[in-house]
C-alpha cells in the first residue's frame, strides 16, 4: 500500500485534524490535556492570519480505515524566529495512524516539511520529542536532527494562563 497523497489542509479537514491531535495525545498519555475545539482550530488555522499550517496524508477510498477515515496522518507546523539565524519552521505535531505506518507516509511528510522550510528560506526545523520515545528519536536522528537539550542543555519552560494573568497584572 504505497498509495497516498499529501496535501495542504483545508477548512473541511478540521474534524480530522482534531481527531488526529487527540490520537497523538493519547499515544503520549496526555489525552485529557487537549482542550482545543474544532471552532478554535477553524478560526486559528483558516482566518486572516493563521497561527498554524497543516499537511494532511490521505489514502484512496478503497483503503479507508476500519472506522471509515481516508485522512490517516498529518503534521502541524508554524514559523518561528531565532535572532541569530533567522526564520525557523517549528513542527508542533506529526502523526500517522498505526495501521498506516511502515509505508513511507511519515518519511514523505517529513521530507515535504523540510522542503517547505528550505523554500521559505528557513535556517532550520525544530521540534520537541519525549525522551522515552526512542522510535521517534531514532527517526529524527537518522535524518540529521540533533538533540539540543542533551548537547546544549536547553530546558523548555511553560507558564500557564493563571500565572500569565498574575504576571500581566503586576
Amino acid at each position: 500500500m504505497a498509495n497516498f497523497i499529501l496535501r495542504k489542509a483545508e477548512p473541511r479537514d478540521v474534524p480530522d485534524i482534531l481527531r488526529l491531535i487527540k490520537e497523538l495525545a493519547k499515544f503520549e498519555e496526555m489525552e485529557e490535556q487537549v482542550v482545543l475545539t474544532e471552532t478554535e482550530l477553524l478560526q486559528d488555522g483558516f482566518g486572516e492570519q493563521p497561527f498554524y499550517h497543516c499537511i494532511m496524508a490521505e489514502v484512496p477510498e478503497d483503503r479507508r480505515s476500519s472506522d471509515g477515515h481516508t485522512v490517516v496522518g498529518f503534521a502541524m507546523y508554524y514559523f518561528t524566529y531565532d535572532p541569530w539565524i533567522g526564520k525557523m519552521l517549528y513542527l508542533e505535531d506529526f502523526y500517522v495512524m498505526k495501521e498506516y505506518r511502515g509505508y513511507g507516509i511519515g518519511t514523505e511528510i517529513f521530507r515535504t516539511l523540510s522542503e517547505t522550510a528550505v523554500k521559505s528560506r528557513c535556517s532550520g526545523m525544530h521540534f520537541i520529542v519525549a525522551e522515552w520515545n526512542k522510535p521517534s528519536i531514532d527517526f529524527y536522528k537518522r535524518r540529521g536532527a540533533s538533540d539540543l537539550s542533551h548537547e546544549e542543555g536547553w530546558r523548555l519552560f511553560e507558564i500557564d494562563k493563571e500565572y500569565l494573568l498574575k504576571m500581566s497584572a503586576k
Binding site: 482542550v35 502541524m76 522550510a117 532550520g124 522515552w132 536532527a145 538533540d147 511553560e158 494562563k161
Partner: protein
C-alpha cells in the same frame, strides 16, 4: 530608576541588533560575573564585540534581516523595548537598555500560545525590575491576543534565571515531561528536503 516598556518600531532595529550581538557573547561567563570566554572582557556593552570572530561567525543575520522579518506585512516576530530617560543613558549613550523578542505559536492541545525567544537587559540596568516588566508586557500582549500559555527555553546551568522563572509560577517542561528540544538545520535540512537516503 524611571523606565518605559513599549512596542518596538523599525527605528529600534539598530538597538535590538546591538543588544542581540552583545547578549550572545560568552553567556556562560557573563552570568557568573567572570571573564567572557569569547572576547576576554569582563564588562559588556561595546559594539566592537560584534566584530569578534567567534560571535560574528554564529550570528547569520544582519540588521536589515531583522527589519524585513520583524516589520513587514507578515512579521515573523514581535519585539518590545525598555527605554530610560536621557539623564540615565548608558556610558556609551544608549537609552534603549533592554528588549524582548517573541512570536505567536500554537499548541495542538491548548491553542494559541506565545513563545518568548529573547529577554535581555544591559548589565548596568539589572536589578531594577526591567526584566520582570518586559516579561509582564509579553504576558499582557499574549493574553490580549487570546493566548493560553507562554513558553521559552532556559539553559540548564542558568540557575539564577531558572529560580526566577520558577518563582513566577513557571514549570520546567523538559524535566516535568521528559521533553527534549531537537533541531534539523543546514546541510541536514537540505539533504532531507532532497530526500537523500538515510544513514
Amino acid at each position: 530608576m524611571d523606565y518605559t516598556i513599549r512596542v518596538a518600531t523599525l527605528e529600534d532595529c539598530k538597538d535590538i541588533y546591538r543588544m542581540i550581538m552583545v547578549s550572545r557573547c560568552g553567556d556562560r561567563r557573563v552570568a557568573q560575573g567572570g571573564t567572557c570566554s569569547v572576547c576576554a572582557r569582563r564588562t559588556h556593552g561595546h559594539s566592537e564585540l560584534a566584530k569578534h570572530e567567534k560571535v560574528s561567525d554564529q550570528v547569520k543575520i544582519a540588521q536589515r534581516d531583522l527589519e524585513q522579518d520583524g516589520f513587514s506585512k507578515n512579521p515573523f516576530f514581535q519585539s518590545i523595548i525598555a527605554e530610560v530617560p536621557e539623564q540615565h543613558r548608558s556610558k556609551d549613550g544608549h537609552s534603549k537598555v533592554g528588549y524582548a523578542l517573541y512570536f505567536f505559536a500554537y499548541s495542538s492541545w491548548k491553542g494559541r500560545s506565545v513563545y518568548m525567544e529573547d529577554l535581555y537587559v544591559m548589565p548596568e540596568y539589572r536589578g531594577k525590575g526591567i526584566g520582570k516588566a518586559l516579561m509582564s508586557k509579553i504576558a499582557q500582549l499574549g493574553l490580549a491576543a487570546g493566548c493560553n500559555q507562554l513558553n521559552f527555553a532556559v539553559l540548564n546551568w542558568n540557575k539564577e534565571s531558572m529560580d526566577f522563572y520558577l518563582s513566577q509560577g513557571c514549570w520546567d517542561v523538559t524535566t516535568g515531561l521528559d521533553y527534549h528540544c531537537m533541531r534539523c538545520e543546514g546541510p541536514a535540512l537540505e539533504a532531507l528536503a532532497r530526500g537523500d537516503p538515510k544513514n
